[in-house]
Subunit: 345 residues, 2 copies
Amino acid sequence: MAEVTLKDVALASGCSIATVSRVLAGTRPVGAETARTVRAAAERLGYRPNHVARALRSRSTGTVGLVLPQITNPFFPTLVRELEHALHAEGRAVLLADCDDDPATEAARISALLARQVDALLLIPVDERHSREAVAAAAAQVPLVLLDRGCGPGVADSVAVDNAAGMALVLAHLAATGRRRPCFIGAAGTASAAVERRTAYENGAAALDPAAPGRLALGDFSVEWGRAAVDLLWPARPDAVVCANDLIAAGALQRLRQLGADVPGEVAVTGFDDIPLAGLADPALTTVRQPVADLAAEAARLLSRCRADGSSGPCHTVRLAPELVVRASSGAAAPAAVDGALRTP
Amino acid sequence: MAEVTLKDVALASGCSIATVSRVLAGTRPVGAETARTVRAAAERLGYRPNHVARALRSRSTGTVGLVLPQITNPFFPTLVRELEHALHAEGRAVLLADCDDDPATEAARISALLARQVDALLLIPVDERHSREAVAAAAAQVPLVLLDRGCGPGVADSVAVDNAAGMALVLAHLAATGRRRPCFIGAAGTASAAVERRTAYENGAAALDPAAPGRLALGDFSVEWGRAAVDLLWPARPDAVVCANDLIAAGALQRLRQLGADVPGEVAVTGFDDIPLAGLADPALTTVRQPVADLAAEAARLLSRCRADGSSGPCHTVRLAPELVVRASSGAAAPAAVDGALRTP
DNA sequence: AAATTCTCGGAGAACGTTTTCCGGCGGTAG
DNA sequence: CTACCGCCGGAAAACGTTCTCCGAGAATTT
């Protein structure tokens, strides 16, 4: 049925396969009259080019692999969406791979994708260190852009949000609204987002309180850890809980409410990423919004670019500016709570 | 570099291309000695089969297209994850397409996928009615399994949760915990999930209160609508708000809290789907959990099956049983609130 | 007017597989 | 000893494109 090939069109239009290909692909000028005939025949027969054959011959499949740690991480879906749209707009298809947060699975997925001759890879590494080898190997074969998280220096092009700037926005906001005893709930490990946000906190918090950089707890990027960390940090009665991402913040918020703490009166809570959940939390979460659409656009741009290059040149690292989104969770502090002396239940 | 072809292996192992292909693909028995040599040569040279060439010759790309309305809908990521894993386990790759909740985009994505010669399609239709034509056309070309939502009778195989059973579980639970004046916030339109959940409510709620089926508000599956609908229904002082999905329930919960309503003392709230958000809401949301992993497994199974068939046979429709997850939002009703007379602020 | 370039179209070789067909070789049966 | 039937291996034809040559005629230059 739908098996109309170039040959059929050629036969129907009375010219050669080569000519038909040229007309349809526009690779070379062709006589106006012939072109018309060919196009008419193609239309009439309902010709649809066979991408597989085209890929075999032209050594380009028009697909890019998108490898990510866990699609269920609520930060990723919006990113995936933007990427899918940006790529589709260029006529490329997206091969999706979910790594289950496991570097071994990640390596397997990468080589599966490579075996399928993807033109390029978009990759959010699972782990800065453990992903490195597989990523470097892949980068040697196809254009590869790292997203959101880095993967060691000089491995591949990368585009991410400026985590330090984001954290600085948060701290400036807290300072401006009179918070003086912040603490930090972050993630351990070597993932670049974890490291950058943590050190940005440590560097910036000292301006508020020399002891502040010391008040931090490191776990992972989960709601559960947010809950647990509050139990560790709350006894010190901070007036702000700065979280390394929104999931942690959601957990912290939940636990603080359980403990009867007044947010934001007594203690402010901030997140990072601005996932959909952030606006729904109670109180709504002050957070740092990642410029997801720009991230995707930039990644797509880098991809086209490093395909244009031979393959050489140093790695480009693009950092995009985040935006502070102030919501209820960092609203006005209760005036009485200045020194933590009197606190209403 | 990585351009090792069958020809190279053949040359290195001193036998023909055909033999190498047979050894590596295992399509035909081959002498033990030869096989060993070939395998050794392949190993040594680091041969990786070219999936594109294979696809061209064997007319099977080993890819399936996954088309969904909006990856940002929080119910989908877990489903996508399970599907990706199930498919990858069979050695198939997933081509992802996001439709932006728009039937026209959906049609475009479907034909793009078809042009790329996907072996099959997994599709969550945007709209029961508007998706129909494109879906039927696609189903004529490749095996196609509908997921989560139907698309009119007899169009294609489909696997979904038993929405009626899920709603029945909710109503039974509400009845058992003494709720007598339920209301329903649902979605308008013809999407099968919307229709099935709505009619299941209408049928089941009459047992609690003859007037209950009348208390419903229809909008869409969003948080915003959940908020808005509460303003419509709360004046009638229901003692349970049954929502058609978790997003609506989250919005309803938020608005009810704003209005000072006591959940669950005064009014219970239930959702549907059990998205990650449900456990995080305050109070945690009672909801109906979809058997996502089973859904994915069943879809994968159907896919392999209808590929085995010629293409004929009637459509199979698989309905999986959901599970009620009881959380705080439908806990014990306040004993005093029986007739809505006295209500504590 | 002859020589050169330019334009347009066709024949056919790739691309890397799978698969069909065929031929040789050893064994068993006639 | 000849005929037939495995078995195993090779040659070569697909699969549907793209792209490189080539050649014929028209257009331009010398």
